[in-house]
């Protein structure tokens, strides 16, 4: 069996040899001898190589190159360097390396005539042309062709619905397609291993190796590690997506460079960073759903069926409920601890409302949001907290353009226009910049969480905590405490550190005033002041900053009915 790692390999050879081949795959566990800062995909897929496999390994990315160091110890391997340029010299260089590879393969699998290679090459080119055509005409046929050419499973939709999501970046797996399809979209996979990555300009060179080299170096959508520019505009013109997902993999840091191009194109997009663990699905889902909600319709204008609109925000620390009536007045609100069973807590809050207002359940429209929203199956609708915060804040303060929401386990910066989300950034899988960071620090300094903000404002000396990482910062705080610094000064430094982290996200979405701060951490005056200093802006806190998500959820229900 031949195993390869990247679709830049010369498939023509494999076909001519008549040897079975496959691409490496994610088996779900990691190869821990590779350093943890190697891309998650390499760390996971290398384990699918068996010791008797013959490995053809494209070594143009550093993660793959270092992975090859290990494979060399166990396997027959040919590391193939693909030039990062596509000049005629590069074609010659690659064609020479391909000749060597062809000899290497023949020495293992037996002699094959050049005529057979020539036939395989012609058929392959034909198949590529058919694939290119099928991609715009018949996706089921494209799937069959792609799977035949690459021996890799097609990942993407085969039928396109209204919301067409173009996925760019690093390879995706079925879970992402499922999340997008369940959220009402369909997927065009233009990642570096999707069908679009195969499409190339072809040459009419009479030398077969030069022809293959030309094909590999002249793909229409080049890999970002290469010098020729990626032509995203042409891809978007052909595929005509509604929105774009830029999929990156932890420690595969290239595709973020596409972000600037996407901003120019001015199409809704979201960047997700995947570490290939199932645990990340919830975070990915929130981002995808929020993207889908960018184009959410406000109302249907149909018959009025509801007279009470309830929003529940099931957060990591607290569960919030807000109720508005048909006159758009806030008639009830409440906040309780989430506890161990989010669904039970939310259900109880909801039952209280039903009882209090004595309305039949079918007259109440319930929208749930927050991390626990998926478990609240008694809701009419589940909407991400990103959209809900935007609507809630817009309801209270229509002029606000940027929301900074700092919750217990995550933080977001949301840019809005007329109540609609236009861009957002979320912290990744890390406690830096969240309420949890403050909790840990309050604990180390033995100060009740509620008091840290106030105390930080009583600082007399400016000191800095350099680390934003919670673990490093904790050890810095311990040393600062040991060296006799005042608690107030250390707390001030902690608040500056969190503000700096949030500041980076604010920059990322190109935040603009007026700015509002929401979420549990908004109650901390120290964070507000530190943010104002770092961002050099005035920040407003809504009357009940914890409730904006729940309120927004209720507003969404109301708007569906009345607008």
């Amino acid at each position: 069996m031949i195993v390869y790692n990247c679709p830049m390999v010369p498939f023509e050879f494999f076909v001519a040899l008549g040897v079975p081949f496959k691409r490496v795959e994610n088996l779900g566990c990691e190869f821990d001898r590779l350093n943890p800062n190697i891309c998650s995909l390499c760390r996971r897929s290398v384990l699918s190589v068996h010791s008797d496999d013959v490995v053809i390994w494209i070594d143009s990315c550093d993660s793959a190159r270092r992975t090859a160091d290990f494979l060399k110890q166990t396997n027959k391997i040919f590391p193939l360097h693909i030039p990062v340029i596509s000049t005629p010299e590069a074609v010659t260089e690659l064609s020479n390396d391909l000749k060597t590879l062809w000899q290497f393969l023949k020495s293992i699998f037996g002699e094959v005539s050049d005529q057979k290679l020539s036939q395989a090459q012609k058929i392959f080119e034909k198949q590529l042309q058919l694939l290119e055509k099928a991609l715009s005409e018949d996706l089921s046929e494209a799937r069959d062709l792609y799977e035949k050419i690459t021996k890799q499973k097609w990942v993407g939709s085969t039928k396109l619905k209204d919301k067409v999501v173009l996925v760019l970046g690093a390879p995706i797996e079925e879970n992402l397609v499922q999340i997008i399809e369940e959220s009402g979209g369909s997927v065009i996979n233009a990642t570096c291993s999707g069908a679009y990555s195969m499409i190339s300009n072809l040459s009419d060179d009479s030398n077969i190796f030069r022809r293959i080299a030309y094909r590999i170096l002249n793909r229409k959508l080049t890999c970002l590690r290469f010098a020729p520019k990626r032509n995203l505009s042409e891809l978007i013109n052909i595929t005509k997506p509604t929105m774009i997902v830029l999929h990156t993999i932890k420690f595969c840091d290239f595709y973020n460079f596409d972000e600037q191009e996407l901003r120019k194109i001015k199409m809704p997009f979201v960047v997700i960073e995947n570490d290939m663990t199932p645990q990340l699905n919830a975070q990915i889902k929130t981002r995808i759903q929020a993207l889908m909600e960018f184009s959410m319709n406000k109302g249907s204008g149909c018959e009025k069926m509801f007279d009470l609109f309830v929003g529940i925000d099931s957060g990591s620390t607290t569960t919030k409920i807000a109720v508005i009536d048909a006159e758009k007045r806030v008639v009830y609100k409440n906040v309780v601890k989430t506890g161990a069973y989010p669904a039970v807590t939310a259900k109880k809050l909801y039952n209280d409302v039903v009882e209090k207002f004595k309305r039949p359940r079918e007259r109440i429209y319930l929208v749930c949001t927050g991390y626990g929203r998926a478990a609240l199956d008694f809701a009419n609708e589940q909407i991400t907290e990103i959209t809900c915060h935007a609507r809630g804040v817009h309801f209270l303060m229509p002029k606000i353009r940027t929301i900074i929401d700092i919750g217990g386990q995550d933080s977001k910066v949301i840019k809005i226009e007329d109540g609609k989300v236009v861009e957002f950034a979320m912290n990744d899988k890390c406690a830096a910049g969240t309420g949890r960071f403050l909790e840990v620090m309050a604990d180390v300094l033995d100060v009740p969480l509620q008091k840290i903000g106030g105390l930080s404002l009583q600082h007399s000396k400016e000191i800095d905590i350099s680390s934003v990482c919670t673990v490093f910062a904790e050890s810095e705080v311990v040393s600062l405490r040991a060296s006799g610094h005042k608690r107030e000064d250390i707390l001030y430094a902690i608040h500056k550190a969190i503000a700096k982290r949030i500041g980076a996200m604010y920059e990322r979405v190109k935040g603009a005033p007026p700015v509002v701060l929401t979420g549990g951490v908004a109650l901390n005056e120290g964070v507000k002041k530190a943010l104002e200093k770092v961002l050099d802006i005035q920040i407003t806190i809504p009357p009940e900053p914890i409730l904006t998500g729940a309120l927004g959820a209720a507003v969404i229900g109301y708007q569906k009915e009345w607008l």
């Binding site: 001898r33 590779l34 350093n35 800062n37 190697i38 891309c39 070594d59 143009s60 550093d62 993660s63 190159r65 270092r66 992975t67 090859a68 160091d69 290990f70 060399k72 110890q73 590391p79 360097h81 030039p83 990062v84 340029i85 000049t87 010299e89 590069a90 010659t92 260089e93 020479n96 390396d97 590690r225 010098a227 520019k229 990156t248 932890k250 420690f251 595969c252 840091d253 290239f254 973020n256 460079f257 972000e259 600037q260 901003r263 960047v271 960073e273 990744d428 350099s466 680390s467 934003v468 990482c469 490093f472 050890s475 810095e476 700096k500 500041g503 980076a504 920059e507 990322r508 190109k510």
Partner: protein
């Protein structure tokens, strides 16, 4: 790279909302320091003081902004020099920011631009610096794919921010005739496109002269190599950064430093210290490691691998372009791990070190990806090996306490 730089950084930080003020302050501050280093170099006339001077001279080039070329550390700078360009490595600029504790400003800027937090901080900071608009615009941007794959998108971004073309040299992983011809052809193309871009004829004899000077210097240092192995130069940790930086960015100036070796006194005062080999780069900002490996320490970093990556290259001024292609291909860092490991083991044996420290710079996959195998190679010949995680540029991504505990435990182990 000291408390002084940090102090200067504090002053600069207050003015970042006015890029022109920062530009002027940087220019004044760095040129003053450069003059000081120059005086010290002339006065002491020893290897490290000259190298300290050359390293800063390269950075000042970018700040002063006369015909600047932004290149990566493994770019054939000799070609740019022969066109009268002044080369600065973007890694060095990131290092300069780090030495002043200002890298966070650049990193935040780059992240705001959409750059991933996983990307190496040399690159992230470099992009941030380009975006901060505090340095004069370069005339030329060029990179090779050595050592890492992050160079190409990063330098493409520099070029695009400055609206100038990018020049990329693709260096294959093995040194053979086919690859030499390929790289030579690319260097010829580079010369051709530089002629067009700068509207200036290429001066072949200027390139020959540069390589002749480089050969003279490297020959002296090569000749002296065995003596250095017996009696390594005692330096502060940050000076190793200056040395490797001067080797790569100022090959045309090395002669002054090389000649000092000829008159170096052969006293063996350093021989009581326990020697270590440093692999990969050293943090550029003032940090706990500088204290641990200060000149008063019982331990000394005998050398680092990037100070010697030219060792297998013999410059040939008669065929300058081909010779530069050989320089790129003979670098032991470009191939698979075994090439790098063979070279690192040679340095360890030659310098008679008792241990090796590999600094895993955050986001640098090429150096630390298969570090476990490198460790095995060292341990097979009985040299203890510490794989130390950290960040060369972002001082917020490290912990002094962690550095100290890990290093001290390692040193206790080998003592």
């Amino acid at each position: 790279m000291s408390k002084k730089s940090v102090g200067f950084g504090k002053i600069l930080r207050k003015h970042f909302h006015k890029p022109r003020v920062v530009e002027i302050l940087l220019k004044v501050g760095l040129n003053l320091e450069l003059s000081r280093r120059r005086v010290v170099a002339f006065a002491r006339n020893d290897f490290t003081t000259w190298m300290d001077y050359f390293a800063l001279d390269a950075v000042c080039t970018a700040v002063n902004g006369k015909k600047t070329a932004w290149v990566n550390m493994f770019f054939p700078v000799e070609i740019a020099f022969s066109f009268g360009l002044n080369c600065v490595s973007a890694e060095g600029l990131a290092g300069m920011f780090a030495s002043m504790f200002l890298e966070d400003l650049a990193i935040t800027k780059a992240e705001g631009f959409g750059i991933s937090r996983n990307l190496c901080t040399f690159h992230r900071t470099g992009i941030g610096i380009a975006l901060l608009n505090i340095l004069p615009k370069p005339l030329f941007v060029g990179t090779t794919n050595i050592l890492c794959d992050g160079n190409i998108p990063t330098f493409t971004t520099y070029a695009s921010i400055n609206s100038i073309p990018i020049h990329v040299i693709d260096v294959p992983r093995e040194d053979n005739q086919q690859n030499r011809a390929y790289v030579t052809k690319q260097l010829e193309n580079l010369i051709y496109s530089l002629e067009n871009q700068l509207k200036k004829r290429f001066n072949y004899s200027a390139l020959q002269r540069i390589i002749t000077e480089e050969k003279q210097s490297l020959d002296i240092i090569r000749e002296y190599y065995s003596k250095l192995c017996e009696n390594p130069i005692l330096m502060d940790l940050y000076q190793h950064v200056n040395v490797l930086y001067a080797f790569h960015l100022r090959p045309n100036q090395l002669l002054k430093a090389a000649r000092t070796l000829l008159k170096r006194e052969e006293h063996a005062t350093n021989n009581n210290r326990i020697r270590l080999l440093w692999l990969h780069l050293v943090p550029y900002y003032d940090n706990e490691l500088y204290n641990i490996f200060s000149k008063n320490s019982r331990f000394m970093i005998a050398t680092t691998e990037f100070e010697w990556d030219w060792l297998y290259w013999n410059p040939d001024p008669q065929r300058p372009v081909e010779s530069l292609s050989e320089k790129l291909l003979k670098n032991p860092q470009i191939g698979d791990l075994s090439r790098r490991a063979d070279f690192a083991l040679r340095l360890a044996k030659d310098f008679k070190v008792k241990g090796a420290i590999h600094f895993n710079h955050w986001g640098c996959k090429q150096s630390s990806g298969s570090v476990t195998l490198l460790k095995e190679n060292f341990e097979q010949i009985g040299i203890p090996f510490l794989s130390l995680d950290g960040d060369c540029v972002d001082h917020t991504n490290q912990s002094a306490a962690q550095y100290r505990t890990r290093i001290e435990a390692f040193l206790e182990m080998i003592e």
